[in-house]
Amino acid sequence: MIEFYHVYKQYVKSQFALSDVSFSIEKGEFLFLTGASGAGKTTLLKLIFKEELPGKGQILIDSENTNLIPQKKLFKLRRKLGIVFQDFKLLNNRTIYENIAVPLLVRGIRRPTIDSSVNDALALVGLTHRKHYIPAHVSGGEQQRVAIARAIVANPKILLADEPTGNLDTELSIEIFKLFERINANGITVLIATHDDHLMQLFPRRVLKLDKGKLISH
């Protein structure tokens, strides 16, 4: 489902954010991506959804080489993915309900369908009572859960989550991880970047570990 072949990424000269990264993830896998701050986790995820381009190497998503996807077709790749961003990337001038509805809106889905999907997602992350708030008016953890809800609302093939529980207490984090497990049980590939060793121990899965841009275990 996700294959990296000798991928290098350099933002600035003489410094590799990723260097010679190769791995492959099967369809339906559930795995973690870990590493110290600045190791390259976010960069690796960005390469998957083509927000950044690799300096060298090939990346295959669903057997498609991302290097060869023209700008015009990029939305097709993105629609296969559900992404929880490390900085949430919520729209501040829209309510939480509207934020979660955006991926469905851009797919041209009808209002009633959108409504039921969004309400389901809200219930899953426990935010039904915050539906009509704007992101600025809810707590950090609540914002993070909005980001999670938006990532899963459109039934993606692959779920990418970057530090999805950084602002959540242990109890809620476990619940969110359980949610990811349920989603994974439906055949969706799940890749979670996290620092939380404790959580990774509770959910023992395959771990990709980065160290200064190098993949040291996979």
């Binding site: 959804f49 083509k50 927000e51 950044e52 381009l53 700008q71 015009k72 990029l74 939305f75 993105r78 629609r79 992404i83 961003f85 990337k89 919520l90 729209l91 001038n93 955006v102 991926p103 809106l105 851009v106 797919r107 041209g108 889905i109 009808r110 938006r150 459109a154």
Partner: protein
Amino acid sequence: MNLIKSTFTNAFKNIFRNKLINFLSFGIIAFTLLIFGIFNYLTYSLDVFIGDFSRNIEAIFYLKDDARQPEIENLITELEENLLVKKVTFKSKNQAEIDFSRRFPELEYALSEFKDSPSPFPASLEVTFRQENNIDIKISTLIKEVEKLSIIEGKEVNLDWAKQVTNIKKFISVVGFFLSLILIFISSFIIFNVIKLNIFFRKDEINIFRLVGAQDWYIRFPFIIEGALLGFVGSVVAGILLFAALKLFPAYAAFMFNIVKGMIDFEDIPFNIFIRLILLGTGIGLVSSFLSLRQHLKPSND
């Protein structure tokens, strides 16, 4: 189908989401178009005003005192049959005197001297020519021919003056065109930059839309609609303001200085100007938002 509807909804919602900047840009556009409209109207009315002057090229042929009636009538018929001539009027010696004192009332004292003697003014033929495009040379030739006739004592022609007026008219329309061009350019520049600012303002939003799978046109469309709408509403408001200004101003002026009321008679505001304003505004909005998008809404990664 649903996607298109949602796109439109999105476009309109966006306009209200960014009230401030849109209000500002809308105001600026309305202002620019208003100035444009005023210049346009001024050019138009100067055109009309000058048109009135230049419509008639006239020649006056003074007749010798001993010219006989049949000879004069012959000439009149001949001239009337000429395609270049619009009208021929015979003015007798007495009529000439009356006209003179009417035209120069200040010279009443001078004329009173001759009250009893026969009119000192010669009889004349006033000839008005049709003025179509560039037939001036033919008219000149005709005038020269008539002048050579034995019954003609002299002539007086306003052809040179007519040429001058035509030139002024041409000059003013060039100035108007020039000014319009500058104003259109400025309007476009403003809308272009407003859209750019808007894109800049919503950079994050656009990026998020892209990341969750929006197609390019889904992102672009609202901006185009917005540009066109800004231009349209701006021009409608400019039109209304222009109308109000042209209607209210003379009333105000007449009230304040009733002597000059006739001077600023804006009675006939051509409907044309409104249509031109609106087409122009909407067009500028469309084109400049389109250009701004092409330049500033480039995908982040390439």
